[in-house]
Symmetry: D2
Subunit: 370 residues, 4 copies
């Protein structure tokens, strides 16, 4: 699918009206462009952030294709760092001008699901996902943060905004895949697909004690990055059956955990097939197609295999963000090799199309704001 | 499917040859009957048990229909209590003549999967299931127990053999369904199907702190038993859509956990549909049909709902058996209302056919041995 | 220690000044009394509740004795139900006049510890405890609720305010003791002391699958109530050594979990002594004396016994409160037998002194407000 | 304490009698020496191993000082690799001549505690510890392995016997300290003492996702090794108060987990003091002195801090051993820098005394067998 642009003449930032800001929006399904909107208002529990650095996510391209339904003039983006422009009256412990980063998921922390500990399911299934879903995203000069007290994460001096922005979704989701995988120390893990989430799942598996990590990937530049990020083996599914290859690499036992980081029914099935009894299939892929995802009955032990299927959505909150940033600070993970392209906000549409068509070896494009 | 009998003239126990025992066997797929076999041999880690009480399981009828493949002259049965006839030289702490019960699943406790804690997956997927699967079962005058040290559970004086026999599979599997369901204290649980396993899952949910238990069942005598065993509501799927009914009973939230105790693709889907985000689908049903079990994509939150799908196979071992028996001893659960029919071993074929066609309001038939 | 009163002439509620409310306060260490205070103010995230029913807690008497340090004219109380008098502008989903109950612990749900899931440690150790600790309590005609969105729990129509008030601390803390105890299904539990928290720990152990519950208690009326609430055995520590008795009752193995619900160094040591290796000591007693609590070295396996020592503070929040109230609604627990005494708010000082000296077989005194 | 030797003239291995083997024994409390014993017998579930490489443990020196009580002519040692000399008749899947390693702890895997998952508490508290405790150890030319089926771990071709021997206790115990610590990804950990167990706890914390690891140690060569093994900071307790230093390094919050790897009452107290509410104190130190270990009451939150105290004893079994060895194979950990000294079996007494007095910068001495 091609996304159309209607932004014939993007305004330069110097020409925007007072109290207005430029936003990169989904005009409607299949169409993106730049537009001006008034600055968001700031309630007592909110904050307004002036954006400095943002990353485009493949899910932004899904959104434009209609994954969450129709939207009009909806600002895209959910991975951004910036500077506090305004703080709500009830928000304490921060100051305007402070550098902060905000997770892609911004739960309220008060509702039933948040209190249960499922903050990404805030208010209802997937309800913690607000940016570019139920409210404007952060590919804009300014963005609004709900429940700012819990969602604003100060960026340590040692970290750049670019590094911090990687914590919003890539590290949080990728690491969650490994956290949910219940890896025993020295266990074995297969990670299906080595896009940015899969790469960070690979790092996550490494951080959580796996002794053997098998990355399933066919694109050479992603294979290379997977090895750099700690995969022990690469299985190229275009050249061999990945389940068979994984069974061979694990002496016929299968892996302790298989991570689905693609969002394909087929790889989901392969995950179940290559996981040993008692193991975990940790799904983080967004499944966009079909009415059903298929569990292969026999490989699932006719429903009695002790194979557990887990899912989740990027965990948010400043507390987690502080831990993720500390992992960068102390050298446990370096997200920067994922930045394959850099653009100014003026050029964002180009970046978006590149992310959509996955050309030019793109992993993640960084957008910087003047 | 009708199972054929080839036992024209069942021998009375008094007429069997020395060193021989009578066994109720699957002659081949679709055919059952009584036959004589030599008493099993007893290796250093084994025990031979003289059977006193046994229960027939629906899975015995599945086996005869070919669920585990072809078998010839294979003794059926995996739920039995008895008396120690012979002990292997390396088995300590028991004595011949002692009353014991043996779980349906008899793991080795030494292999990799056993050491990992997945004893039901002993040696490989579902490998802990040995009786009437990879070795003769216990619908016989005597049966053999592997790894007797860990698999023989002494029956307390206060319990009958009948009560103890219910721990072999019904309580162990039914309670596991609830244990795997991760029920928060005061949580809500739906149990799909109220056969003997579903009934014990209902008791399990009650034992583990659920405040609202919804039994899904259409047969009146099972509905009645479900209420007796602690269900708060009955949803009759033949009269209303169970998912809708469950959503209404939970104020639109769905249950914290749904237990699949039938083994149907449709009820599995309903389990996912009626479980709230962050909840658990605990599958204990044996799924006998089709290449795939279906996960409804949207109700699964496109793979990000924090809904966890768990499975398992009846946990074995004497330690668990002792806890299950203690629950009967101290009045937490009374399995006897499940015994709807009683037969002598001579009449076992009649009992078997009744279990197969589920006529006459049968829940469980007890077989007693002279 | 005797607490002194300075309330010579308690005002009747009809005579209080406009905008004023009567409060039962700790005047200073060792002295309680009634006084008037202005109604609390209501910020955007707050609520003001008109009190209808409250319970006095032993910890109120500890507070007056100086357990949390000096306080002047500090309103006591942390177990109360009432009616919403006023709602902050940012609080949604409630309406004034609605019946609600508020847990003893009122976390912010936004700070680091809350996000980590340790809401009772909000902002710092024990920081979730605000009522009668860092702000006025709720033994007053009105009380203030911080972070009302997460802390107001609507009372179901089927429940009385008295029943609901028991969820504030007694059920929440008592059940936590059992939740933290990691009881295997059919496991064994000892509960040291059968005061109201110990009684609810006994119920909690019953709700969470224990097959054998041993209540340690010397007072006959508490022993009797313990048996009513589900204890299987009573050990009277004044007549026998409780560790020895528990070892005998468990065939020399010790219990899977021991719950310390008294707050004594000695019973804590006994908990460690009577817990089997791999078991849990779940401490909920408030330890008020001495610099150290003592772990008996040998019984702790010289530090290698796999005995786990857990602690916690009454978990708060409306989500948990709704589950606790549902347990009362569906008949899993009935707190009312704990109400041994009833007083009007005018008589609260009498109730307080009774609670302090534990005379007249008191378990819990209920205070009702006109 | 000085240990006395009575081995005036150690026999060379060529001079031992047929069917005899040389053993390094505790003659009685305070006295060690070499002696000859007959080769152990091999029951149906046993194996006899010809020793090739062994490590001396500080706990061997504790044993000689009387830590487990009096023993006469008791062979020391519990960390050894070797070659299968003889297999019991019921042991399958191995062959004589195969290289294997055996964990320090050799549970039966059949008893109640083993079935509960607490294999180190096999048969009773600390009962999994058999070598040099309830049976002869493995500082001998040959040693006996009970329950060989579960306790023999084949050594991969890529690993030396020396590497494998480190898995017996150092890696298994050290990593357990981190596994029990419940470290959140990116969490903070303090490890008290950087002896070989503390060093491996440091590696364990690194393997399990800690972002900040603080090693507490005063000896320069251990500090240096701690940094090499992944500590981010060293706190020298001889130069500053370690609790204060840790609080400063964690911005006043305390660590998510503190690991006690020394076995001192004082460091145990410091662990509780420097752990944040909701955190874990993971004790692996052997506490040899006094009747009580002390919990500082206020720092423990008067029993309500949500601070959990865990303990454990080196987890055994071939499954864990295979995972630990794989971590060496794939380069996650290199134990060899811990081998500071090397001796032949003839020289073992010298090695033992060095280990006892901790002179010459010793970390671990390797003993090789001809």
């Amino acid at each position: 699918m091609a996304t159309q642009s209607t932004t014939a003449t993007p305004r330069s930032s110097s020409r925007r009206l007072p109290g207005q800001m430029r936003c990169f929006v989904m005009k409607r399904i299949g169409e993106v462009g730049m537009m001006e909107k008034p600055l968001p208002e700031c309630g007592p529990n909110d904050a307004i952030i002036r954006t400095t650095a943002a990353l485009i996510c493949t899910s932004d391209t899904h959104t434009v294709k209609g994954a969450v339904g129709e939207r009009f003039d909806h600002t895209l983006g959910h991975e951004a760092a910036g500077v506090i422009q305004k703080l709500g009256s009830a928000v304490t412990g921060f100051k305007e001008g402070q550098r902060v980063v905000v997770n892609a998921i911004t739960p309220c922390y008060h509702c039933m699901n948040c209190q249960r500990g499922y903050t990404s399911q805030c208010g209802g299934m997937l309800g913690g996902w607000k940016f570019a879903n139920v409210k404007d995203g952060n590919m804009a000069e300014y963005f609004h943060v709900n429940n700012a007290q819990a969602n604003l994460a100060p960026i340590p001096d040692e970290l750049t905004d670019e590094q911090a922005a990687y914590c919003c979704d890539m590290l949080s989701t990728g690491f969650m895949a490994a956290e949910y995988a219940n890896i025993p120390i020295g266990g074995t893990v297969a990670v299906f697909a080595q896009g940015p989430i899969g790469l960070m799942a690979t790092v996550g598996a490494r951080l959580l004690g796996a002794s053997q990590i098998i990355g399933v990937e066919s694109m050479p530049h992603r294979q290379k990055l997977a090895l750099r990020y700690g995969a022990d083996h690469i299985v190229d599914f275009s050249k061999e059956d990945p389940v068979e290859a994984i069974m061979n690499l694990t002496h016929g036992e299968g892996v302790d955990a298989a991570i689905e980081a693609l969002g394909s029914d087929l790889t989901f099935q392969q995950c179940i097939r290559c996981t040993r009894p008692g193991g975990v299939i940790s799904n983080v892929g967004y499944h966009g197609d079909g009415d059903f995802i298929h569990i292969p009955r026999m490989d699932w032990g006719v429903g009695m295999s002790d194979k557990t299927i887990r899912t989740g959505l990027c965990p948010g909150g400043s507390e987690r963000m502080s831990r993720l940033m500390r992992l960068i600070q102390t050298g446990r993970v370096d997200p920067l090799p994922m930045t394959t392209h850099r653009f100014s906000f003026d050029e964002i549409e180009k970046a978006f199309h590149l992310m959509d068509n996955k050309k030019d070896g793109i992993i993640k494009p960084l957008i910087t704001f003047a």
